[in-house]
Symmetry: C2
């Protein structure tokens, strides 16, 4: 009866699912369900929600898509769930500009764009693309009341963003409380066996488990993946923070921007973006983790693999050649003028005045604009803090594409 308990394929699959995840809720139940599915010759239904208001994918999105592809490779069904019901309503009170209502055509167009781009990571033709308006539009007001009876106000107020806004006295409209129910109910409508998401989605994904239970379904397993840190090395990758690399950006751009990240960030990116591939880089990754190895070569490999993934091998070769010819070429020490700047009274200098003194900007105002436009880099890292102060030391400073200096402050 319980022969499946010895099935090594089950262990292998669960290990793949677990790999690189942060949390895996309901793993034990999923094992049983997986065994049952295998006995019936069908795959698990794996849900991934997408936000149709932000169709341009960046590397951050590809972490969870990589996990979804791994599950597809195990023979399971990927479901891309488009939250068009909520996107079309947006914020009906008109109070928050961050959630504008989208028109039907816009949602469809965004979803198509999303699927196209997701197809660079997953096997899109085999994925099921669903829109939650399909069931939400059929829901009556009674149904909504019943749905909302299955969760408490106090628990919703524990959700991180709600908790912060409530504590800060910022208004939360009651309709915002309805959206997590919609997202959770989507799992009921889809009969999801597994839902994937970033760790910032944990609350909603777990709510899906409870709402499934309330509707008499076995709860989905929930697998969360880490959030990718952006090129700044600090914040979660996000288009609005300017620290994102879009996967449809030109190959040269992707390559160059990956090359600009710190070595520490590079290792984190490898771990989250490999998605079960790039096995040949693994031993070098381990060497680097223990302090040896060649970071520069590894970063080149990472940049090349990522461009390959989104644009193909040829584009990756071109991007790499371009980088060596143009970017690294112009940074060669013999081409960069050396400058000495006196440290200020406090032993350091403000970035803006340094830019002016180097002749990279005519005024503090112009220098600030360069920083804000992310046109200034120090030691290959873009600097976006106009208040930055530089202590004694040597810096390779770049402004725009043509101005370079090796500045020694002190």
């Amino acid at each position: 009866m319980r022969a499946e308990r010895q099935d090594p394929e089950l262990d292998r699959q669960l290990a793949v699912m677990r790999e690189g995840s942060v949390d895996f809720y309901g793993e034990a139940e999923l094992r049983e369900r997986l065994a049952a599915c295998r006995a019936q010759g069908r795959g698990l239904r794996v849900k991934l929600g997408m936000d149709p208001s932000a169709p341009d994918l960046h590397l951050g999105h590809t972490v969870v898509l990589g996990k979804l592809r791994q599950l597809q490779d195990l023979g399971h069904t990927a479901i891309l769930l488009v939250g068009d019901f909520t996107a079309r309503i947006g914020d009906p009170s008109g109070r928050r500009k961050t959630r504008p209502a989208l028109r039907v055509e816009e949602v469809r167009r965004n979803a198509a764009t999303y699927v196209d781009q997701a197809g660079l990571v997953i096997d899109a033709p085999r994925a099921e693309v669903r829109f939650n308006s399909e069931w939400m539009e059929r829901m009556t007001s009674d149904d909504v009341v019943r749905l909302c009876s299955h969760y408490t106000v106090a628990r919703l107020l524990e959700r991180d963003d709600f908790a912060k806004r409530y504590a800060a006295g910022e208004p939360i409209s009651v309709h915002e409380f309805l959206y997590p129910f919609v997202q959770a109910y989507d799992s009921v409508a889809l009969r999801a066996d597994v839902e994937l998401g970033g760790t910032d989605q944990t609350f909603n994904l777990l709510m899906g488990r409870e709402i499934q239970r309330a509707y008499g379904q076995a709860p989905q397993a929930v697998i969360t993946v880490p959030l990718l840190v952006g090129t700044d090395g600090r914040e979660k990758m996000s288009k609005s923070l300017g620290n994102a690399i879009g996967i449809t950006e030109p190959p040269e751009e992707i390559y160059g921007r990956v090359m600009s990240i710190s070595d520490a960030l590079m290792l984190g990116w490898y771990d989250l973006l490999a998605a079960g591939e790039w096995a040949d880089l693994r031993s070098e990754r381990e060497r680097l983790g223990s302090g040896s190895g060649e970071p520069l070569r590894f970063k080149q490999a990472l940049a090349r693999r990522l461009v390959e993934r989104f644009h193909g091998t040829e584009a990756a070769e071109r991007a790499e050649a371009h980088f060596h010819r143009v970017v690294r070429g112009r940074e060669a020490p013999d081409e960069i003028p050396e400058r000495r700047l006196a440290a200020g009274a406090s032993g350091d200098r403000g970035l803006l005045e340094v830019l002016v003194e180097l002749g990279f900007a005519a005024s503090h105002g112009e220098a600030r604009r360069l920083v804000v436009q992310r046109a200034v880099a120090i030691d290959d890292a873009v600097v976006d803090d106009a208040a930055l102060r530089l202590g004694r030391g040597v810096y390779r400073i770049r402004a725009g594409k043509r101005r370079f200096a090796r500045a020694e402050i002190g």
Copy 2:
């Protein structure tokens, strides 16, 4: 243009509306609207919500019905709103037994019962009886989301009952947050000009104003009336507290129970229950308020008027005669045995031991049961506190219908 400002009829009507109310929100706007209605020869639409889960009316309900009748007398349209949508859903999570779902037939039957009984106070045939399922069933899930966008979580959590439950860590299901929206939206659907309610409904009634504004309607005026204190002289009248007099109780019962209330409570009841009638009792009411007058005669008049209101003049005469013959007759001093009881060490005696010593009960346990069953009265007032202590003095004590004593403690 603004000739209506001098219209004395407007002042008279607003004075009638204000009379005996606790709060009157939107009075100034209502004056304008009333003037416009008069110019168009139509009345105001006056909404009163009823709870179809509790169709048996008691004196407490008749306070607001009296106010509604006064508005009918001024030529306005009474609307009895039956909240059948919510009553039929009840508590869908099944967690709270206090709100069981009602079946359609049950709601209709309860509503009919309610209207029959309300007809003892208002002009029922002229009232509009509406069921909110009429518009709520047509509402889509989109509509519900939009409705809920017009009020914040924080403000709902300020509602007294929610605030207490939230503070006490008691669960509030999110669907409970939807019900005040439904109640408020009813005012939109009915295009209510005025909504009446007890002071415990203030939050919901004012929310109606906001939701009307959100839907582009001028907000209703809100008139709240005080809550009637029950026969115990302490708590709001409520069937579940056992301190209520149902308006369909037998005439003798109503008469006798009104006679049993305290003199102070009697004055409060007169004020809330007169509803613009009983003008001939007004001067005696004022005398009593300043400490003179004859409380017993006034209480008889109040008891008689209330029975008249609900059962007619003949029934009131019969009830009065019955009271004099049976109730007061058996309390005549010459029929009541006189007993002397020693005051205890503390100068008083516990009620239960007094009942035992008088031979009214064989044990403390039996004495306690009598009290709990509300079978014990002291000086015509029912006593329900088994821990009561009686100080030195003379008391007329009754237990059940047959045992009386004039007991002197001291």
